[in-house]
């Protein structure tokens, strides 16, 4: 998918970072944007269809999963699936009880929704970067970003939702105390009211922004690294270095995918022979390495290995980010409930 020259490399990255946009174009009216240019011209009156669809779909998966668990909920012995769901629920419940001290029936379900939903959205990052955009392109859809949490609209949308709840509960619980908190803090004197108001407002606004942008930044960077690795690996397989060169010498620039399928089958066959005990492990590795080197797949293999390594590390990141988003939501709402 990636080319060898810088221009197509940039194109490749830009293509990967472009959402599928449906919006109101000043000239063409409502419709899908053809390219980044048109998408940018639509301005605010546009939807990122892919982000919304994936986030909605993942949210529905979350609802379906937990609803089916709730339907199966029993006071008897829980099945494996229910056990798993209850593990999550108990974990969330523990986190909420640890940091939220008010009485509010909404916080725990909110935390659960955020944690699982954000986790699922982040999880999309682990699907090979080219796979779904490639398939969608085959199906005629030009752009596809499958990780909703790499879209600032999505993360800021959730952060703003949390922010509205923060304001609502601050006013509901504290009443005038909330205004007092904004104006008489940290300097408790009427002359400092403008200074206090400015500082507190900045502090208040920083919360949703840091919440939304942290998640966005982490996921965006992670996605970017996947894209860069994917490019490196494509460049390695097609480039003029060592094995790739041999491969290019023998098979030419354009190789049918059937060739790769044959190579894949060959390597699988060798591994299978080893598992059946027909050849030794050392021989297996040697033969597989020779096949891969000859077919130029070694670089592809190295790229795949790097993708795999980053994905393993990324599992930690996506879980951590989902957890941080949830914990900060709980903490912010807890602060909204605490009267000073």
């Amino acid at each position: 998918m990636a080319g060898e020259n810088p221009a197509s490399t940039t194109e490749y990255i830009q293509h990967h970072l472009q959402n599928l946009v449906y919006g109101n174009h000043p000239e063409n009216g409502w419709g899908f944007a053809h390219g980044a240019q048109e998408a940018a011209e639509m301005g605010f009156m546009a939807f990122h269809v892919d982000s919304l669809a994936w986030s909605l779909g993942l949210g529905l998966i979350f609802c379906w999963m937990f609803r089916s668990a709730a339907k199966r909920a029993t006071t008897g012995v829980p099945s494996g699936f229910l056990n798993f769901i209850e593990l999550i629920v108990e974990f969330i419940d523990g986190s909420v009880k640890d940091s939220f001290h008010g009485v509010n029936k909404m916080v725990a379900p909110l935390a659960l929704t955020i944690f699982v939903w954000v986790f699922l959205m982040n999880l999309m990052d682990l699907i090979p970067v080219d796979l779904i955009p490639y398939l969608m392109a085959k199906a005629g859809v030009g752009y596809q970003k499958i990780v909703p949490s790499t879209d600032p609209n999505i993360t800021m949308g959730m952060a703003l939702g949390v922010f509205i709840l923060m304001l609502y509960y601050s006013i509901k619980i504290k009443g005038t105390g909330f205004i007092k908190e904004l104006t008489m803090h940290p300097f408790n004197h009427w002359a400092f009211i403008p200074v206090n108001l400015f500082m507190e407002t900045v502090g208040l606004l920083a919360k949703p922004f840091s919440l939304g942008l942290r998640l966005f930044g982490n996921m965006y960077a992670g996605e970017m690294i996947f894209i860069l690795i994917a490019m490196m690996f494509a460049a390695g397989a097609g480039g003029g270095i060592a094995a790739g060169g041999i491969h290019a010498q023998i098979f030419g620039e354009h190789t049918s995918f059937l060739f790769w399928l044959a190579v894949f089958a060959l390597v699988c066959g060798v591994c299978w022979l080893n598992l059946k005990g027909k050849i030794s492990t050392g021989k297996t590795v040697l033969i597989a390495a020779i096949i891969m080197t000859l077919s130029g797949g070694l670089f592809a293999f190295a790229g795949g290995l790097m993708q795999w390594g980053w994905a393993v590390f990324h599992i930690l990141v996506i879980t951590l980010q989902a957890f941080i988003f949830m914990v900060l939501t709980i903490v912010y709402l807890s602060m909204a409930h605490e009267d000073h």
Binding site: G23, A39, A40, M42, G43, F44, M45, A46, F47, H48, S51, L52, S55, L56, G59, F62, C63, F66, R67, A69, A70, K71, A73, T74, T75, G76, P78, I85, E86, V89, E90, D93, K105, M106, A108, P109, L110, L112, T113, W117, D151, P152, N153, I154, M156, G157, M158, L160, G161
Partner: protein, 156 residues
């Protein structure tokens, strides 16, 4: 990195999912979990109680067993005593019976001996008289001599 209507779309979706979770998921699962917790706690309590009951029952059983053993031992003792008594009584009876039989037999023997003596005496007296009659023939006064003969017979 352009903010657009997607933001509000996501906010609406978010609100909907939170509502759904709040209404249809969280309370049900949590309630089930809490109920199960209660159930398990009750079950553990019941198990503890059962263990205590079992201990009590076991000690009761061992007590009863001891009592029963004691009772049985008492009964056996009594039975042994009674058996000894019966044997003793039987022995005594047998001894007494034997004694009685012996006495009766001795008495009978004595009686027989006496009768035999009587018979013998009578026979000897008769014989003596007959002999004397033969010797003295009719000259002898039967009455006078009878005394002498009786005296003679008594001495036999």
């Amino acid at each position: 990195m352009n903010i657009n209507l997607t933001l509000f779309g996501q906010m609406v979706t978010f609100a909907f999912f939170v509502w759904f979770c709040m209404k249809f998921v969280w309370p049900i699962i949590l309630q089930a979990m809490e109920e199960r917790q209660q159930k398990i706690a009750d079950g553990l309590d019941a198990a503890d109680r059962a263990v205590r009951d079992l201990d009590a029952a076991q000690s009761k059983v061992s007590d009863q067993l001891k009592e029963a053993k004691q009772a049985a031992a008492g009964i056996i003792d009594q039975a042994n005593k009674r058996a000894n008594q019966i044997v003793d009584e039987a022995k005594e009876q047998a001894t007494a019976e034997g004694e009685r039989l012996k006495v009766a037999a001795q008495a009978e023997i004595e009686q027989e001996v006496n009768r035999a003596k009587e018979e013998l005496r009578a026979t000897v007296a008769g014989l003596a008289i007959a002999g004397a009659e033969k010797v003295l023939e009719a000259s002898i006064d039967e009455k006078a001599n009878k005394a002498i003969v009786d005296k003679l017979a008594a001495e036999l």
